[in-house]
């Protein structure tokens, strides 16, 4: 006991030291930083090995053009965690390239300063929809768009042709095809071991909401909807209820979803499509490279998601170049962003070995058809242009995605019949979150 009392005292003493230390360190982070052209110019991207090579080449081009040397660091796992650590020591990398979805958090924590859109050379060449993804909840810009994409539906072509089914154009077609894949043994091995829909339905990172949001849009529903300059919860609207009821049918009535879907993360999910266990997968176009290699380009086809009651809809996503706060190289930050959105760099970014780092170009002067020469990418581009919609630019969208995923996961796991009642409960929680973020009407 004596030792533990002593260590408690020591811990308390240390806590006091910590408090004092932090009190000294809480001066404003946004203060003007001394510029230093000799400081290393650090750039981070969230990439695995293959795309990192494409980035490295891009940055080498940049150095050749401008003489600015980039200290490049690709990070895949723990990107946010490492960024938080650097933020804690107030020494952020100068530039990061990351999901448009992380904008809210970056702004909320003060990691990215406001950006004057008009001052970026070449800003007029960027499509307006992409700029939307760089806009914060306050209507100001906090990043430069770099790449865009929308989710598409992948279908096992050989299975569909074997069963003599047409390409699905509506929800009814899709459900019918999923049932056929589940019950009619499309792989012909005599066993009932195939499934229609592949759904990465874990609540981890809110994946289920990611997947479901396209279907919500197709029914005219949404998680939250813009209402003037504020937002209103839309997850309990009649349209959203209809979408969730339809998804519930796939899980609970026709049972065409792969087993274990509600605890499945994306990494494990890909294997189901590759190994011929599931035939329909709504996912991002960055998977083409991997599926071409592991499954075969001729085995699957890429279509725009079949239309729901409100037409075709799909989630739009992308990546932004964020010019981080507290950089000693402000001029070079902008120079790099301007280079990355130039037609040349965008084209180079689309030519990756297995994964392009620019999926759809944000620059109007780059033609998807000529660069990729791949009809599947035309499908993605057309979908993005006509019917894709990004998550709303709330100060922090993460809690909404997380709670929606948890709510939907509950409905699908228990096969609750009162979908409307369950969604109203979820709506109540989302409303509280909107109020907490000061975005409720």
């Amino acid at each position: 006991m004596r030792t533990s009392r002593r260590s408690v005292t020591a811990a308390a003493a240390l806590a006091v030291v910590g408090l004092v230390g932090s009190a000294c360190g809480t001066s404003s982070g946004g203060a003007q930083v001394q510029q230093d052209p000799n400081a290393p110019f650090e750039v981070w991207t969230r990439s695995t090995e293959a795309p990192a090579k494409v980035y490295a080449k891009l940055f080498a081009d940049f150095e050749q053009k401008t003489g600015v040397k980039v200290d490049y660091k690709p990070i895949f796992t723990d990107f946010e965690k490492q960024l938080q650590q650097r933020a804690a020591s107030k020494d952020l990398p100068d530039v990061i390239i990351n999901d448009t979805g992380s904008l809210g958090t970056l702004v909320q924590q003060g990691l990215v300063p406001e950006l004057d859109r008009a001052s970026v050379v070449g800003n007029g060449d960027i499509v307006e929809r992409a700029w939307e993804s760089a806009k914060g909840a306050d209507g100001k810009y906090y990043g430069v768009p770099f790449s865009a994409q929308s989710f598409v539906t992948l279908i096992r072509k050989d299975w569909r042709e074997k069963l003599g089914k047409p390409l699905p154009r509506t929800w009814a077609d899709l459900a019918d095809l999923a049932t056929a894949f589940t019950t009619q043994d499309p792989d012909g091995d005599g066993q009932a071991n195939t499934y229609g829909m592949l759904v990465p339905g874990t609540t981890d990172r809110g994946y289920l909401a990611w997947w479901a949001s396209s279907y919500l849009l197709q029914a005219g529903g949404d998680i939250v909807k813009a209402d003037g300059d504020k937002y209103a919860v839309a997850i309990d609207s009649a349209e959203s209820v209809k979408a969730v009821e339809w998804i519930r049918g796939l899980f609970c009535d026709s049972k065409v979803v792969v087993p274990g879907a509600l605890t499945l993360n994306t990494n494990d999910a890909h294997a189901f499509f590759e190994s011929g266990k599931a035939g329909i997968y709504h996912t991002g176009p960055y998977m083409f490279g991997r599926f071409d290699q592991k499954l075969g380009k001729d085995k699957y086809e890429v279509i725009a998601p079949p239309a729901g009651p409100a037409g075709v809809g799909s989630l739009a996503e992308g990546e932004n170049v964020y010019l981080m706060a507290g950089s000693p190289r402000v001029a070079d930050q902008k120079k790099l962003a301007e280079f990355l959105i130039s037609a040349g760099a965008q084209q180079a970014g689309m030519k990756g070995e297995t994964q392009p780092v620019v999926r759809l170009p944000v620059n109007k002067n780059v033609d998807v058809e000529t660069v990729y020469n791949d009809a599947r990418w035309n499908t993605v581009a057309k979908l993005y242009q006509d019917s894709a919609k990004p998550f709303p630019s709330l100060p922090n969208f993460q809690p909404f995605r997380q709670q929606t995923a948890e709510g939907l996961n509950g409905i699908l796991a228990t096969c609750a019949t009162d979908v409307k009642g369950e969604l109203s409960k979820l709506a109540g929680n989302l409303k509280k979150e909107l109020q907490a973020q000061g975005m409720a009407k």
Binding site: S7, A10, A11, A12, L14, A15, V17, G18, L19, S22, G25, T26, S27, S28, G29, G30, E80, K81, Q84, A87, A88, K90, L92, T105, Q108, Q109, G110, L111, Q191, A192, N193, G201, T202, T203, D204, R205, G206, P259, G260, A261, L262, T263, N265, D268, A325, G326, N396, Q398, P399, Q402, E406, N409, G410, I411, L412, A413, T414
Partner: protein, 317 residues
């Protein structure tokens, strides 16, 4: 006087020296060394403890009182984080589930560990081999175990366990796929992983029991069950106390198994204390609230340990 003392010294040394009683020579040397000496020896370990344990702990306690915003400066919010996490429905139900999981895993692992220990006690070479095989789950990485059990539990007829069950006309069971069975399935994995560890400690306890007690009991006409009940179990009490403490702490901070097996789903049915804290910290970026959750867990574990210690001391005295 001097002569007598010397004689006593020699006597003490001849008797085996300091091992028996305080040795005068030793005492003299002790006096020469300053009070700082033991601390000097402890310094490397203490330093590591301070840097890697106490400082992070103190930092965690500090963060639990702030809204954490690394670049804008943290905002002091007092006990607000504690109030918010305790008001969170999901966190509250996770607490209940954590205790259920901890209790189930502890009891299950102990029972099966005890049964295994009784079966595998002895010195034969074959037993040594079987014991090592049984111990494997303890040393395998939890993340790997999780991935493998996910495959075993695959909730379709072609899943491994369901396939076996079908031979005896059972199944297919849902395992991790249904909110009704997910927590029990996680618990089973925990027991599978924890039981061999308990077995080893119980084996050590069994080895310490005097054989004569068994013989005496047998002469008195005690059945096998009576021998276990009245000889083995009472003799194992100290081992059981330690196992209970260790297992309870381990059970409360369960994370990896749940995270890899289910990520807390489906429908939050396997969400436990630490997965909730993780989700709040790294999915919702609320480091302050997550720290509050961790501090609460620390306090509870601390209280639990102290209670067991006090209980033991009272028993002993």
């Amino acid at each position: 006087m001097t002569a007598v003392e010397t004689a006593r010294d020699v006597g003490a040394t001849a008797n085996g020296g300091g091992a028996v009683g305080p040795h005068p020579v030793g005492r003299r040397r002790e006096r020469r060394l300053t009070g700082a000496t033991p601390w000097l020896f402890l310094a490397p370990a203490l330093l590591l403890f301070v840097v890697f344990k106490y400082v992070p702990m103190a930092e965690g306690i500090r963060l639990s009182l702030f809204q954490v915003r690394p670049f804008l400066g943290d905002l002091f919010v007092g006990m607000d984080n504690y109030v918010r996490i305790l008001e969170d429905d999901r966190f509250r139900s996770a607490i209940g589930r954590t205790f259920l999981l901890a209790a189930g895993q502890t009891a299950g692992a102990m029972l099966i560990g005890f049964a295994l220990a009784l079966l595998l006690e002895g010195h034969a070479r074959s037993l040594w081999f079987v014991r090592s095989a049984v111990f494997l789950p303890v040393v395998a990485a939890t993340a790997v175990i999780g991935e493998i059990w996910r495959l075993l539990y695959y909730p379709a007829p072609e899943g491994f366990i369901n396939n076996i069950l079908s031979f005896v006309g059972l199944g297919p069971l849902t395992f991790l796929d249904s909110p009704d069975s997910a927590l029990w399935s996680v618990m089973a994995v925990g027991i599978w992983k924890g039981a061999p560890y308990d077995m080893v400690l119980i084996l050590a306890g069994l080895a310490g029991i005097d054989r004569q007690q068994y013989e005496a009991a047998e002469i008195d006409g005690a059945s096998t069950w009576q021998r276990i009940r009245y000889v083995t179990l009472p003799a194992l009490r100290p081992v059981v106390t330690i196992l209970l403490t260790l297992a309870a702490i381990r059970g409360l901070r369960t994370f990896t198994e749940v995270y890899v097996l289910t990520g807390g789903g489906p429908a939050g049915s396997t969400d436990v204390w630490m997965t909730r804290v993780f989700s709040v910290a790294f999915e919702r970026n609320e480091l302050g609230i997550a720290s509050a959750g961790s501090v609460l867990l620390f306090l509870i574990t601390f209280a639990l340990t102290v209670t067991v210690q006090l209980y033991r001391r009272r028993k002993a005295s």
